[in-house]
Chain length 201, copies 3
Amino acid sequence: MLLTLTDLIGTFAFALSGGLVAVRHRLDLFGVLVLAIAAAVAGGVLRDVLLDVTPAAIADWRYPVTAIAAGLVCFAWHERVERLRNPVQLFDAVGLALFAVLGAGKALQFGAGPFAAVMLGVLSGIGGGIARDVLVAQIPAVLQRELYAVAALAGALVVVIAAAFDLPATPAAFAGAGLCFLLRLAAIRRGWRLPVAGGGE
Amino acid sequence: MLLTLTDLIGTFAFALSGGLVAVRHRLDLFGVLVLAIAAAVAGGVLRDVLLDVTPAAIADWRYPVTAIAAGLVCFAWHERVERLRNPVQLFDAVGLALFAVLGAGKALQFGAGPFAAVMLGVLSGIGGGIARDVLVAQIPAVLQRELYAVAALAGALVVVIAAAFDLPATPAAFAGAGLCFLLRLAAIRRGWRLPVAGGGE
Amino acid sequence: MLLTLTDLIGTFAFALSGGLVAVRHRLDLFGVLVLAIAAAVAGGVLRDVLLDVTPAAIADWRYPVTAIAAGLVCFAWHERVERLRNPVQLFDAVGLALFAVLGAGKALQFGAGPFAAVMLGVLSGIGGGIARDVLVAQIPAVLQRELYAVAALAGALVVVIAAAFDLPATPAAFAGAGLCFLLRLAAIRRGWRLPVAGGGE
């Protein structure tokens, strides 16, 4: 119950990021909703398609409905949402942490090896942002911006390593999500970035 | 039989739109064929992958062959096809109506809930155009242009609502397709558009 | 064994192309790795999703690890890799030939019809390059550049035609791969291109 609630908060935060990008690119109302849905569910859908499982976003209507609600909020009050950038980034970090950890756990549960589980955890976390940016013909921010995917990677790694050593899954998930969340917050505050080949800016 | 024929006409029309976009971006012959196929089958393929069904475009060679034929037509006579924009838009509206209605029906048949069925119906109708535009690094027209997805949405809704009330499926499909087709035609004629956040042009 | 080794060489070469594109677009370290993986595995993953099979890149960790290694090589020594363009193109041609032939064979094995098998073989060969270019918001090179997909098409055709006539599969695969490889080499050397509609450059 608590898990689903947090999951839906993450979905809402991801969808807000999609809706804002759509408004900035002057998409129409439908475009705003599509980007909200894509940003919120694409990561999980990709993971589930690769695991050959029915995607959660198809099986459970609460995910797309939450994303649509976030899209409508962006459409109606985009200026206010833009000004709330800090709280939105906070929720987004919650979403990233949850999606990475739950994604890796789901992959393990459906028989993926440890390496694939880490990759699918990261994909769950970042797939939505990639779909969002591809749909407005931009290079995905996650491939360029301050530390984002690495936080997801750290969270997914904790889950998979814990499983490899037969440690209990629930505390491992909390630890992984906490690590991911804190890494992402620190990256935002301090502007941590990954290096670029050849250096320079 | 009649259904398949209409379905192939829709496929042909969608493929023409892909081929024309490819020619305008000066893609080579292969690029024209790829965009024709992508525009014609991507929506249905996405729907079937999400439903975990073998995509019709893989199972039945007539769909890709029809798309390839449309691509060759665009390649050889693109100026003439450009001038036929009105009939092509007409066929495209037929395709949209059919794909949305059949897509929603197929989703229901394979166990999707009503909400997911509407989304998959819309996706069947608009997925091809999105794939086409992403492949030439443009923001998908369906996210910006005059009423297009909303017509698909209306058609899919009719099918799903009828199923929810146990009304007979065939007349519902005709009604949904008719509504979608007329909405789309009216949108083209009168330039109906969805609003953009913040208004203005 | 020899097959897997060659397959991994192809994966490495495809991943190098992804890593180089990422470095040129100034993506960060993570972006370089994502593009290396996408370029190496997207074609096969797409094929396997359409065949409803667990993707090899998920089932066998050696593929993503090889791609990541190639990405790191690009990141660390991108100037040197750029200068090795000729050998890289050679490996890439090996990868293309292998992926097209193996992709068509796998499609037949999992029950695809001959037409679908040819399409899936081509998709296996070119899907990675398409994903790579879409992720940096460029029109895929394979839709514009000198003969590339046609080489994959020729290789896949040999495999599918041989199967249709019940000829032994292994020599057919060798013949198809050889044909694809030689076509691609000749296209690079002589700058063979497909025509563009309307002609002219």
